[in-house]
């Protein structure tokens, strides 16, 4: 372990101080200590290669083919990508995914932030509340979707029959039949399921803010709102960035809830990008085209994450 560390330490100055040329020479003439370092990371590298690089390479390869589920495949160059440009339903799905991502991310933060503030400081029953709010996170997304699919059922579920029995509605309302109630039901389900996780991330960020700062600001006469804006938020940049990226990436890849609860309905208005990829690959059996769509989505996600990291990086001079 110590040898590996020192190998790293010996390597670092060379990276930053020397020119590219000397760096290359250094790599070529790597001593046994460097090889030992390489040996230490080998298992991780092997895992990344086998489970990420190779599948990714295969996806790229498939995306350049007309690759049906059955039968022979043929190389068609970039034709799949040209077809995507004309695939209106994919762009519609992408637009809906964007809309969903914005709405659900705002909703998750709107719920998770107050919860994090609430459970951050020790008070009676904090442990209970933390567990309580976090519980839905440990339910799998598919199981949660099945549960809500039943809760939302108009004939045998909970919400509609309950509202009807309480006299709130004149007849049982089918929540999943039209876009607005169906969409907001999904949002409610996802917030219920995910907010606890975002809450825990935000809580760790809150706890890492030194209490002295808050105290000093209080003594200087700053109100709670000013303290939140001038101290809490800026010091939580990194935490918020992490929570945001996780939430956005998760939402852009949304599939389970729309597949299980809504089947993309009502009237195909809730087809997400991943749902469309799934349909192309396993309903229309066009694996090559599905692979090309996946590559496009991957690039979009990558760009989104880079933008977020840039926007939320520490301002110059801080830290």
């Amino acid at each position: 372990m110590s040898e590996g560390l020192s190998a790293c330490a010996g390597y670092k100055p060379g990276m930053s101080a020397n020119s590219t040329l000397s760096r290359r020479r250094k790599l070529v003439g790597a001593g046994p200590r460097q090889w030992v370092g390489l040996l230490y990371v080998a298992p991780a590298v092997a895992l990344v290669i086998v489970f990420f690089i190779v599948p990714l390479g295969m996806t790229v390869w498939m995306s350049l083919h007309n690759w049906p589920l059955m039968g022979a495949h043929s190389f068609i160059g970039l034709d799949n990508y040209w077809a995507i440009l004309r695939d209106n339903r994919f762009w519609n799905a992408l637009r809906f995914t964007g809309f969903y991502t914005v709405v659900v991310t705002i909703a998750i933060f709107a719920v998770a932030f107050p919860l994090a503030l609430f459970i951050e400081r020790p008070r009676p029953l904090t442990g209970f509340y933390r567990t309580f709010f976090f519980m839905p996170v440990v339910v799998g997304f598919a199981s949660a979707s099945l549960l809500w699919s039943w809760l939302l059922n108009v004939d045998s579920g909970l919400f509609s029959p309950a509202a009807f029995a309480l006299g709130l509605t004149e007849k049982k309302v089918n929540l999943l039949a039209t876009f607005q109630p169906a969409f907001w039901s999904i949002i409610a389900m996802v917030v219920w399921k995910v907010a606890g996780f975002t809450m825990i991330i935000l809580m760790t960020g809150l706890q890492s803010i030194p209490p002295e700062l808050q105290e000093a600001a209080t003594i200087d006469g700053a109100g709670p709102l000013a303290r939140f804006r001038a101290i809490t938020l800026p010091l939580m940049r990194r935490t918020i960035a992490l929570a945001l990226i996780l939430s956005v990436a998760g939402s852009v890849l949304a599939f389970d809830q729309f597949y299980i609860i809504l089947r993309g309905g009502p009237r195909n208005q809730t087809l997400t990008a991943v749902y469309w990829i799934f349909n192309q690959s396993f309903v229309s059996f066009k694996l090559g085209y599905g692979a090309a769509l996946s590559m496009v989505l991957l690039v979009i996600l990558l760009v989104l994450s880079l933008i977020q990291l840039r926007l939320l990086r520490k301002p110059e001079g801080l830290d």
Binding site: M70, K171, F285
Partner: protein, 414 residues
Amino acid sequence: MRTFIAGLAFAASIVSAALPAGAAETANIWVRADGSNFMPRIVDAFNKGHENQIKLDIIPNAEIIPKYGAAAAGGTAPDALSLDLIYTPAFSAAGQLEDITDWAKSLPYFESLSPAHVKTGSYKGRIYGLPFSADSSVLIWNKKLFKQAGLDPEKGPTNWAEIEAAAEKVNALGGDIKGFYFSGNCGGCNIFTFTPLIWASGGDILTEDGSKATLDSPQLRGAIDLYRSMIKKDLVPQGAQTDTGSNFFAAFATGNIGITPSGAFAIGALNTQYPDIDYGVTFLPGKDGGWSSFAGGDNFIVTKGTTKIAVVKEFLDFAYSLEGQTILAKYGSLPVRGDIAKEALKDLDPRYQIAAEAMAKGRTPYTVVFNDLINSANGPWTQMVNEVFFGDDVDGSIANAQETMQSIIDSAQQ
């Protein structure tokens, strides 16, 4: 000591079972979960009486296609597959199946095999699939509710007006009881039970060769009006609008539904799981009488290049025997051999006879893009049935579906 001897005998029996005499072979066959009732029975019966053996795997309905595709690509496909017949054109077109034309035509009873199956099993004049199991669509009604509503419990509706009138009377019983049920957001359910209404009235949704979509017809509009009218009169439970098929059978099985279009499979399922429900079976009628049915079920296909083709043929021969057809009929599939159907069904519930008759005249749309057009939860057919039953713009929905279907058909032919 006795247990030791018993153990020894047991071990010997295992050894003898594992090493049948001669050069017996074992072929691997897959079936979708819908066949999990009859398939193990017929395989068991075959294995008991034959040296060659069949190893059966049951695969969930939604997974059998991707799984087979992946296995075929990896060279681990089963020797044969009992496949939802609507997929046979697509599988044949992909060049994945063994051409069994000569063998099929040498069967003495080839002419009496279910014509709808043989039609979907053929591609460009060659035969790649032969009928295995069958399911026809029929109309079922609850006799108890009919009686309570003052209707003749022994007489089912014979045209659209009678369906609506009877549903209205049953619905008037009130409470949880509803007149009519259908799965309003399920493409597969509605191709099975809604298109026969159109066929029986003289219309169709695709041309014979599957090259043109023909949705904009007075027969389709008439059938839509029937459903819309029943929905408007509140004869259909609210859940129908979003039912993707999970309640297709279950709704009627609650005993609270007067009439529902269903399939032959419901006869077996009701008899075994809901013996208290007294129901009648009749044909799906046309607007002014006549009737039609969807011919569903499985085609038996052979993976290209399998070395076990002799075993597979031996098994199919057995399935086509009277013994095989009787086992199928007893456990939930209609017979697929018209010439011995009556005999295979003679000891069973007489309501099967109606379903078998429906099967003999049943129809199946022929297209290599059935999944895209019809079954996909997001395809044009599913979207259209949901919109025209429950939406406000029937004309727009039909026009939209017609255009989308035609473009899917056209792009598949390129």
